[in-house]
Symmetry: C2
Subunit: 298 residues, 2 copies
């Protein structure tokens, strides 16, 4: 029997809180710069009250589920990584109960670990991946540290992280290329992205093709406004190429993104012949946390 | 009839000045933070006097040759890029004469451009490559922006730049990996380098394998001191892999480096089955500038 749900995606810098009805409708949502790095030891019940106290007041019978870095060693309490392959039931079984106050419990979901050649971990993304409702497929979650995951027979079998968003920021804002980069016009954005995608296929690799932005601008062959879009498309292309080497080519990709990332990854994936299904991070989180809450109460 | 030579490798941030005897012996050398970015318009004769005025005084009949960014648009005077393929004679023929003072001329060497799919340029490195004295071969000049060049029948036929040193600095000092990195012990240096070289062969690519440093340290599988050596070896390996895709595998590499770069690139190249011949940047510069000075007076 589903209950309403108060669910937090509680990360390092930010927290997103949702009040979700029995039928899965998002009744309220809130985002705050109240990530775990801003919460002092022992301060989680108070931080939760700031973030979602009014949701609790409105729905005192709601289940409370917390996902993300809140379950890390630096969060409220450590919920140990569940090793892959992991099913929704196995993820839910490793959740940890905490007391918000006398008589009110919350559940902290664990992250996942994967030891597929290289060791890797995630916290929070597992909930979005579960929310895809996919039995067999590949998921891509773009971001500062993008995640790709393989799902087989309803279990997350393996995954890998890519430092794409962070390296983009370093190249765009802190490298020698930053001095040449300008705010892109619409034409620059289109041209830079097309050239970045094309550069992904060149043999010299990222260290060579990233530097080419400089030479092309200095030679008057590319506008300064195209540098950012070039780097973005180049890095997205490199991420996709790396993920193809790990997970295979040409498969349908479940892309968990919205806005500019949905656009740039969608274009990059289609350019490399992947059918793409886009789902927003909010929709994936809400579906995933409901599924895991259902397993918790099962 | 060779004359003594005063030669400057005059870059953006630094200048190196050499007094070279008729027979090629370096009689005096000097390095100063007197790169072109520190020289005001019209200030070059004075900056030269600071750097090498005493060399001139000691050898008034010496030829004076200036290589590097001094010949760029932001330097003393622009010596246009010579397009590849370029022989030493073709490079020398594009040199530009300037007046140091009444009656004393200096020669500014040009850089090279290459339009082999991607456009690329170099200034200063062409002199070191000429100094290798190689008729057919591949040169690697590691650095902030490494250069690889192909030489065929005594001409530099094509080359490519790699942003390796700069991206290393960004990842080591400014990324999320910086927080985990510590000063390496000798054991950390060996372990990190071995793991970085191994990671080059993994299928996920640089964006994935760079991030693995974080996960491995957080999981207690790698020491914080190994992060820097891991990243260095990984990036060197990625550069070599990219250069192999452009210039071919398994060839002998003329490595223009000394100190830590000679060590890390030498190890990385041998690990990928390249015979390596190491020559110091100073030896390559002195031999190259003498060769080009000979062409100038020919």
């Amino acid at each position: 029997m589903p209950k309403p749900l108060i669910a937090l995606d509680w990360g390092t810098t930010r927290a997103r809180a949702f009040l979700i009805s029995e039928t899965g409708a998002v009744l309220e949502r809130r985002v705050a710069d109240r990530g775990i790095q801003s919460v002092p030891p022992g301060g989680y019940p108070e931080a939760f009250a700031e973030l979602a106290g009014d949701f609790r007041h409105a729905t005192p019978d709601a289940a409370i589920v917390l996902a993300g870095m809140v379950g890390s060693r630096n969060g409220w309490i450590e919920a140990r990584y569940v090793p892959c392959p992991a099913s929704p039931a196995e993820i839910a079984a490793a959740a940890i109960k905490v007391d918000l106050d006398a008589g009110t419990r919350a559940t902290i979901l664990p992250g996942l670990s994967c030891d597929d050649g290289a060791f890797d971990v995630m916290r929070g993304e597992e909930t979005l991946i579960v929310g895809l409702g996919v039995s067999d497929g590949i998921a891509c979650l773009p971001g500062t540290h993008s995640k790709w995951a393989e799902i087989r027979q309803g279990r997350i079998t393996r995954f890998a992280s890519f430092m794409t968003g962070e390296i983009y920021g370093l190249l765009r804002n802190d490298s020698i290329l930053a001095r040449l980069a300008e705010a892109p016009s619409e034409a620059d954005a289109v041209e830079g992205a097309a050239r970045g995608r094309a550069a992904t296929a060149r043999p010299g690799g990222l260290l060579n093709t990233a530097f080419a932005a400089r030479t092309e601008v200095l030679a008057g062959r590319m506008a300064g406004g195209a540098v950012g879009p070039y780097l973005s498309a180049l890095l997205v292309g490199q991420e996709i190429a790396g993920a193809e080497a790990l997970f295979g080519r040409g498969q349908e990709i479940h892309l968990v993104a919205d806005g500019a990332l949905a656009e740039s990854y969608g274009t990059g994936l289609r350019a490399r012949n992947h059918p793409v299904r886009i789902i927003s991070p909010e929709a994936a989180f809400v579906a995933g946390v409901r599924r895991l809450a259902g397993e918790l109460s099962a």
